[in-house]
């Protein structure tokens, strides 16, 4: 999708945090990306390298934790794991699911100098 704009979003956060917390170089960026976020990981990795060139995060290592999606099945009355918004419950086949997580796009941790 818009991996370039997402990486620009990451850079904005890094620059703001660098000002607040007083660091000048980012060596590692750790992200949480949910499977429902729509982010293409290979495209994101490519965009990350391009966008970070010439910035405080040039050559930073990118680590992505891919998070599964959880949904509450009204039929089974329990939490199940799904891979897409249109998935049926893996246990009972019902579509009566309420998705509770999986669309995360979060910067979790940084290694800085």
């Amino acid at each position: 999708m818009h991996e370039m704009s997402l990486c620009e979003g990451v850079l904005q956060v890094l620059e703001t945090e660098a000002g607040k917390q007083g660091f000048s170089k980012v060596k590692r960026v750790i992200l949480d990306i949910g499977v429902l976020s729509g982010v293409e990981i290979p495209a994101f990795e490519f965009a990350f390298e391009v966008v970070m060139r010439g910035t405080l995060a040039e050559n930073a290592v990118l680590e992505i934790n891919e998070l599964p999606a959880q949904a509450w099945c009204l039929m089974c009355a329990e939490s199940v794991t799904v891979n897409a918004r249109y998935d049926a419950c893996p246990k009972c086949g019902s579509y009566q699911l309420q998705i509770s997580s999986g669309d995360e796009m979060r910067i979790k941790e940084l290694e800085v100098d």
Binding site: S5, G9, V13, A84, R85
Partner: protein
């Protein structure tokens, strides 16, 4: 290591919240129209404006990668329209909309339509500060689009199924399409319309009217509509 736990689109969300505050203070109803290219957003808008402009103050922000054609089509209806060209960008973001507001200055109690860039993927992730995303799907696109682009139909509160005048010539299963949309978003409302024949448009106008009333619960003095503020 420093923990930061920040949303990647946090900056956009901040701008979106600033826009949202601006709209709330002025009692402006903002609808963000999203769809694939050519599903009929501008046609639907020009007809809607022509039918509603006597009742409400309307303004439009048009997002396209190139050209000012759509803004010109809107201006022909007599309402103010501002074109944002996103260039390579595949969506509008909240910062661009914030800048547009400086120039457009929507009337208190009015309605602002934002026609997003024709794209069923990226605009889903970018909050502009709108009250509702309205997804437009035309029947020539196939009934499986809600499953192929679930994020957009998940983010929308209303789906307008457009070009229903063409149904007799197509093999499009309306019920199946609505079922798919509900599968990705159980709360979504669906209205069937034709922006060219006008069929079903009344219900869309009712939906707009009711959304505006909700918006104006805190601004009863603005409810009377266009001219109330003149």
């Amino acid at each position: 290591m420093v923990e930061i736990e920040q949303n990647i689109l946090g900056k956009n969300d901040e701008y979106a919240n600033a826009n949202r505050r601006f709209f709330a203070e002025r009692g402006v109803l903002v609808l963000n129209l999203v769809s694939s290219p050519g599903s009929g957003k501008t046609t639907l808008l020009t007809r809607t404006i022509t039918d509603l402009r006597d009742d409400f103050d309307v303004a439009v922000i048009e997002g396209d990668q190139q050209t000012t054609n759509d803004a010109e089509r809107i201006r022909e209806t007599g309402v103010p329209a501002l074109q944002i060209n996103t260039g390579k960008g595949c969506h509008l973001d909240a910062h661009m909309v914030g800048h547009a507001l400086e120039k457009l200055d929507p009337t208190p109690g009015g309605i602002l339509f934002i026609e997003n860039v024709g794209n069923l993927v990226c605009p889903a992730a970018f909050d502009l500060g709108e009250a509702h995303k309205v997804a437009i799907l035309s029947v020539t696109e196939g009934e499986d689009k809600p499953l192929k682009y679930p994020d957009m139909f998940h983010a929308a509160d209303l789906m307008l199924l457009n070009k229903i005048d063409l149904l007799p010539y197509l093999d499009f299963d309306v019920e199946q399409c609505i079922e798919y949309a509900r599968r990705v978003n159980p709360r979504i409302q669906v209205l069937q319309v034709s922006a060219t024949s006008g069929e079903g448009m009344d219900r869309w106008y009712q939906w707009i009217g009711m959304s505006r009333q909700m918006r104006l619960l805190e601004h009863p003095e603005l409810l009377a509509g266009a001219g109330a503020n003149a």
